[in-house]
């Protein structure tokens, strides 16, 4: 779950990390009032979850409250990568003498939380890695103990220098505490600005929470931005499905993420175009199939649906019952192609057969079948 900058900075502040004074505004008048209470030049920053705000003109400086109001009027309502800006952060402008980068993120290969720091902040870490790889320091934190001052402060110092070492260490400690207490998968400060007075301050920040850990932090769910998922994606999530909308015309309902992706890939390979990714997950009960079909049927321009189930923990009879339930309750105006194999396959096929439905056993046959019935091609595609 991704946070907006103003939310991320709220957490940094709570964990003792210096951030510029600021608050979010959703109207120009509010922006003006906040700027005037801050009482110094401010930054007016679009609050959207996509990157590239600055380049899109979504970040501007204002010297007076009147100017903040005008800049907020410009930015509110503008679209950045298709996302409408609904809020701006009004934050005290920081005099910047130098820009650093520091982040904590899950590192898959070392199976640790990894700290990345650099004296070249202010640009994307990917860009720093590409242009100045020798200016990046990376080190894993001890998975049992977290950051260890005796060894880790030195490593951090190689990015921040001796003079800022104590401040950088305090920031890292705060970041780690936030990371571990709130179950984050990313805490990033970029730039971590050095003021002319030699103070470090988090000029911009990103925080991502681990969705799998939200059961431990139910209060965080309220912070979720509607920008992160489309309405259909939210609908799917609340029904225990994992769904990503795409722009094709063949709806897919598959069990398992890997097979869902492979099914999309195969549809494309045979000349069709997938309308979505949808994993009904394991232990699927019939309701899940019903909900999956309901969500997919909302897709504009849908030409056919492929249900591809290879039962393991998912039982084919549950799926078959779900399909019948869906046929009773929903109108399905497009061809439905079913492929069913694996756990309780015989029972599943028998249930379908009784209702006059056939199911493929072979995936390639099923995909070719659905591509033909979607009308996109003759189903041969690359596979000719």
């Amino acid at each position: 779950m991704k946070l907006h900058e103003f939310q991320a900075k709220g957490f940094l502040k709570e964990y003792g990390i210096p951030v510029p004074e600021g608050r979010p505004a959703s109207t120009p008048q509010e922006a003006r009032a906040i700027a005037s209470s801050i009482g110094s030049p401010v930054m007016v920053k679009a609050q959207v979850l996509v990157g590239g705000r600055g380049k899109a003109g979504g970040v501007k400086m204002a010297k007076t409250p009147e100017e903040a109001e005008a800049k907020a009027r410009d930015i509110l309502g503008m679209r950045i990568k298709g996302i409408e800006v609904q809020r701006v952060l009004i934050a005290a402008a920081v005099d910047i003498a130098a820009e650093f980068y520091v982040s904590l993120a899950v590192d898959r290969s070392t199976k640790t939380i990894q700290c990345i720091a650099s004296a070249s902040g202010g640009m994307d870490i990917e860009e720093i890695a590409a242009t100045q790889p020798d200016r990046i320091v990376r080190f894993p934190l001890d998975p049992r103990a977290g950051p260890v001052r005796a060894s880790d402060q030195k490593k951090l110092e190689s990015a921040f220098g001796n003079e800022l070492s104590e401040q950088a260490w305090t920031i890292l400690e705060g970041m780690y505490k936030l990371f571990s207490e709130k179950d984050c998968s990313l805490v990033e400060i970029n730039p971590c600005a050095k003021t002319p007075q030699g103070r470090l301050i988090a000029a911009d920040a990103k925080v991502i929470f681990d969705d799998n850990a939200l059961f431990r932090h139910p209060e965080l769910e309220n912070l979720r931005s509607p920008e992160e998922y489309s309405a259909d994606e939210m609908d799917a999530r609340s029904n225990g499905l994992s769904y990503v909308g795409l722009d094709g015309n063949i709806g897919c309902i598959v069990n398992g993420a890997g097979l869902s992706m492979a099914t999309m890939d195969l549809i494309k390979y045979y000349g069709g175009s997938p309308a979505n990714f949808l994993d009904v997950g394991g232990s699927s009960n019939p309701e899940k199939v019903l909900n999956a079909l309901r969500i997919i049927l909302k897709h504009r321009g849908l030409a056919a649906i492929l249900i591809n189930i290879f039962g393991g923990i998912t039982r084919c009879d549950d799926i078959a019952r779900g399909i019948l339930m869906a046929r009773e309750r929903l109108s399905i105006p497009v061809p439905l192609v079913i492929r069913l194999i694996g756990t309780n396959e015989k029972e599943g096929r028998a249930i379908l057969k009784e209702a006059g439905l056939d199911a493929y056993e072979d995936l390639t046959d099923a995909v070719k079948g659905v591509v033909v019935r979607s009308g996109s091609t003759d189903g041969k595609g690359n596979g000719v």
Partner: protein, 299 residues
């Protein structure tokens, strides 16, 4: 021989009284696995279809001599279950559960390793040595004993590949789902090493997907260390960036983890990458034959 799991492996099921735990305990036993017990705190003394249930893992191990455990408990209790298994020093811990917080896994994988145990998963289908035993949720009947080792980050996609191998007359030595989470107990490279050393295994099917760089590391390892032929398949070629594709670990992020890069890394290491799952047997078969005849990597 197979790897990790054989006919004499003694298995307990943590979470055996739950819907999935009980269903799959029976299914594993039907397949021939020695399911010697189960654990559900507070239900000790009961039985599931004749399989004795114990209150703790330690008790189950003491009473049954189990050397493998499979975990079916819900995500919020999984960490506790994993640590209990590691504390009882069970050599092979297989965690099926999906949705475990990543920070729990970071702590737990090291906890398990420190106690000398191996973890497969989480968020995985488990493993099977066809004809000998299965520990997990895969449908047994699609497998057949033979020489192909199968390693995968996915569950159902693995079944797809196994089914294709079986239909093509290529049996399997051991099939392992390593799990779809970003942090998992055992990675591709460790299993490739076991397969390379296993006399029954004649070739390997490696099934990867978008996210992370396990496939790239495997490619490098294969180029440097493996003599047996390996064929790969990568899913997610049509996946959009910055979207999590079902698995917590399946995400192209910051321009990294895309399918094209993985395919290129594998091909550069001399590993053929199939365009479709059912192509794997066609590509693997002649290489296995050539390798058996003495040519390196079946080239």
């Amino acid at each position: 021989m197979s790897i990790l799991l054989g006919p004499d492996t003694r298995v307990i099921v943590q979470g055996i009284t739950g819907r999935d735990g009980s269903f799959h305990a029976k299914s594993m036993r039907e397949y021939g696995t020695k399911v010697v017990g189960g654990v559900t705190p507070g239900k000790g003394g009961e039985n599931v279809d004749g399989i004795p249930v114990y209150n703790t893992v330690a008790e189950a191990v003491e009473r049954t001599g189990a050397d493998c455990t499979v975990i079916f408990v819900p995500a919020r209790f999984s960490s506790e279950a994993l640590r209990e298994a590691a504390d009882a020093r069970i050599p092979l811990i297989v965690c099926i559960t999906e949705g475990i917080p990543v920070l729990d896994m970071i702590r737990d994988v090291h906890y398990v390793k420190d106690r000398g145990c191996r973890l497969i998963g989480p968020n995985c289908p488990g493993l099977i040595s066809p004809g000998a035993a299965k520990v997990g949720i895969m449908p047994g009947r699609i497998h057949t004993p033979g020489g192909v080792g199968v390693i995968s980050r996915s569950g159902t996609l693995t079944y797809e590949v196994v089914w294709a191998l079986t239909r093509a007359g290529l049996g399997q030595s051991t099939c392992i789902g390593v799990g779809g989470d970003p942090v998992i107990g055992t990675s591709f490279v460790e299993l490739l090493a076991l397969f390379e050393a296993d006399p029954q295994t004649t070739g390997v099917a490696l099934i990867g997907e978008i996210g992370g760089d396990d496939e790239e590391q495997a490619a490098q390892y294969i180029a440097q260390n493996m003599k047996k032929p390996v064929v790969s398949f990568i899913s997610g070629r049509t996946a959009p960036p910055e979207k999590r594709m079902g698995h917590a670990g399946a995400i192209i992020s910051g321009g990294k983890g895309g399918a094209e890069h993985k395919v290129a890394a594998l091909r550069d290491s001399g590993v053929p990458v199939a365009d479709r799952p059912d192509e794997i047997p066609t590509i693997l078969s002649p290489r296995v034959a050539a390798h058996a005849a003495g040519s390196p990597k079946g080239a």
